[in-house]
Symmetry: D2
Subunit: 309 residues, 4 copies
């Protein structure tokens, strides 16, 4: 029997990507696609190949519950997840920031928490920057090599969402790069928690590019260390991971756009005992909706990569 899926907040970028990943996937039925602003509009306006009968909805949570979905994705702005998650009867993956540090919620980074994700009723999908930074730093930090890290990150403007703002204003972003929240971005704590390292600094920038994140990890090492040996550690650490690639060259956004991959490369050291590791992901896929589907696959007992390759 088809898996029944509902999406609440289906008309933002992450909702659109989820729809794209699921509307033609065999064995799945999108029973609710809640969007206040687009309710009634056919999804084929977005995706010419979608079934014209598939439309955005505006159900109440009660109505969603009566549809008995196997899983509900919450793709709303920050602030709504706690209330909604408590009322939904089915399993839930929340893509907002709200529940990432909450009690009883599993942090949905499969490379960290694969087993507990599979067993969880409520999963908090990681932030896009945090996904890239944690995957970039984890093997080095867990090897005890790292004293502190500065993550200098560059994101496509889809990271700023669809609501017009300073960070997706087409005049501002054209021919430009914007630095923001230099020292106090909420993702900083998420990265520190994921890595188990307090001495982590984080600064994001917006690129004149729609999708993709590059995290340049500048890791101050406790002592001089051979770069090739570090790359080897990364290869071993991620050998069994279906979506992490450790490369011989430096990855860029083209390696990951429209994929669920996280590419890692660089692994150079300089005479100031700094190690550089570069991570790239698609912020809307491995950084959001792709990872959410990866988590859904784990939760529903499906092959982890199904629908993502």
């Amino acid at each position: 029997m088809d898996k029944k899926i509902a999406i609440i907040g289906a008309s933002g970028y992450t909702g659109w990507e989820l729809i794209k990943l699921l509307f033609s996937r065999p064995g799945f039925d999108l029973v609710g696609l809640n969007s206040e602003s687009n309710s009634g509009r056919p999804v084929s306006d977005l995706y010419p190949d979608a079934d014209p009968k598939l439309k955005f909805t505006n159900y109440t949570i009660d109505e969603i519950n009566r549809l008995e979905p196997n899983l509900v994705f919450l793709c709303q702005a920050d602030g709504y997840a706690a209330a909604n998650a408590s009322k939904i009867n089915s399993r839930v993956i929340d893509l907002s920031r709200d529940l990432r540090f909450a009690e009883g919620v599993v942090y949905g980074l499969p490379e960290l928490n694969r087993k507990s994700i599979a067993a969880s009723r409520l999963v908090a999908n990681p932030g896009c920057y945090a996904t890239a930074c944690i995957l970039a730093g984890l093997p080095a930090v867990q090897s005890g090599l790292v004293e502190r890290i500065v993550f200098d990150c560059k994101s496509g403007y889809s990271g700023a969402g669809r609501t017009p703002s300073d960070r997706n204003d087409p005049k501002r972003i054209a021919d430009n790069i914007l630095a923001y929240k230099l020292s106090s971005h909420p993702h900083q704590n998420e990265i520190r928690q994921g890595l188990g390292l307090a001495a982590v600094s984080f600064t994001p920038h917006v690129l004149p590019v729609f999708r993709g994140i590059m995290a340049t990890g500048h890791m101050i090492l406790k002592k001089r260390t051979d770069a090739a040996m570090i790359r080897d550690k990364y290869r071993k650490f991620y050998a069994a991971e279906p979506f992490v690639r450790v490369m011989d060259r430096i990855p860029d956004l083209h390696d990951v756009q429209n994929t669920n991959l996280c590419c890692l490369g660089g692994f150079e050291t300089d005479d100031a005992d700094r190690l550089v590791v570069v991570a790239t992901i698609d912020n809307l896929l491995k950084g959001a909706s792709g990872q959410a589907v990866q988590n859904m696959n784990l939760m529903l007992g499906l092959p982890e990569t199904e629908g993502l390759t």
Copy 2:
């Protein structure tokens, strides 16, 4: 009497910018515009408003000398400057990397060496990345606050020059950001020398933008320091500088494109004792040809800002 100026290597980006700054400037006469590949071609092909009689040339150094220029700009690829500079009779500004560490040559950063530039026969124009990083770090380093710096820099692809390469391939740069020379860029030493600080790490990236550099300076402080106080130090340090702006907000590329300005802002600290300073310049102006004209003004006894505002 008009100042006579020659440019050798006039058909690269820095040559073009020099021509643009000088072709309609009153009191200047472009007596030689050497370009092997464009010799004979009218400059009005590039700039519709240039005098159609102004053409690219292919003079020998002897012919250049016989024209008795007041100053010669060398805009060639790395490797030619030492030989050419020694044969030219007039004063010389070299825009390549060749002479920046050479004996008897003044490093042409006016904010550091204004007086000796004015008196010099031969000036080595700073690199674009080095200009941004040195100006970003100087007040903090000279105040003794800084333990180490990681400069994470992002440049427009005009920094890679006009010769086709991996770093200006339109397919590669579109919708992308490219990290390169993660740990060993020759600019690193130039920055260390300019700042007088050895613990400097430097990593450049190429943006899908034609012109502009953002240098994000992550400065590890020796001890917790008030950010507002640091901004004040910067304001005082650069108070008399005609082309440096210390801003209340974070500068971006739009603030500096097509200008000779260096904008500085940010000045935030985090709980890991990192200070962030963001510097932006136009890599082809303050990072190359504009700074060269600023140096020329100093060398010829003209007002430093003439032709640059």
Copy 3:
């Protein structure tokens, strides 16, 4: 004595460009810069080199009148000009669409109406598309060569203004070109009137570029005509025009961005008796604020090109 200038609607793109053209121009004093949304904000937020005392205002029309400006620019959305122009005591240039066909108002295309602009109290500044298309077609139409024209036009997205819409949504415009109002754009009538030709069709497109318009004029000729002869007609027609360039090559947006020029080129014919003329302008300058300043110069008895080169 300084000319006193007021701008009503000063925080849209055309207002910004007017401010940029005037804030540092000797002999001019910006006495009012009305913007409801930015009232009180310093202009130096936009232009780091503006006097920090220069601020956006929110004056009533009466207050504007009491300042006794020499000229007022109206840069508001369509619908306000008629009412405001009638209340303002000074001379007025309106940049909206409202008054372009109105009685007693001069259509402000200097190449058509130079003398009557100089004498007028109220000038309607032409639309950006209309400026490019009229200048592209005028010599051919007035020579009686043309049976019909299809103008296929491509504009930077600044033409859609600052208010978020489908035509400046960064996701939609990135990596894209958008055709719109295929057959019924209000500019079509403006072009027909300016050219004195009814058989004119017009279709606009939006480019992933901030500023610049290319108008590709496909002119069906009454009979086979020598292309070189047509180019000559254009050269003679525009010989005395300070801002129109007839080129040997095909112009592109780089030739005109950030200038008040209109570049014309192409002048090829094919075996289906079609002539192609390509015109490019900067939609915010020759297509709006630059042309408005050109008109202001004429109205105030100043040299027509002052402040525009």
Copy 4:
């Protein structure tokens, strides 16, 4: 048994797209990937998920023949196809311009020649512009409505290939649109032949976009005709076509990028009896490699859409 496929000229854009369409397609074996410049290089450099054993080759035609491929794609520059095609023993699809008008060669537009493609040994794949224009015009022309057409086309710069040129120079294309070959493009004849209409004019432009073509067809009608009726004709004409979509809105590049679709829309008429039809395709897929695979499917007796959705 797996189908054996060889590609000659495998390191240009069309070769890359073919590899991407085939390297992971079940039932296919890429036995030769000839590229002089990349011989020996692993394909996984381009596509991280390709088998690292799959490498570019540099076989002679004799060696290719001995591999007994089921089909060979020729992706070389113009000028090589006739000689190579005559020496290859297997079936051939040529993507160059060379054979499109040759005797005994089938023009590979499935919407025109589906049956003869299936039976042919040698197919000439259509040009990208011609594909868009023919599909945009065919129903109207075959209905006898059209007197003449002006196709104003806009292409991504991948259409100019990978060899550096004026039309893919990153400095020239950034923030720009380039018109070229205003009246004499070789595609013009291809369009005339495909449509069976002589009064066709064609002008191409290059966009600051990597992939995608928009063809804006300005069709002068013999007499006033109802636009809705014309759209209906298009719907019926293409009702059975798997890759042509007739839309209610105007298509743009996002509708077709990375797909083999041709989207058609617009269908507006104006008071000068002009009909506007807008067609969009991905120039590298429906305009080149996707259409080549569609042709291959027909030639090998496979479902026409296999590997393309």
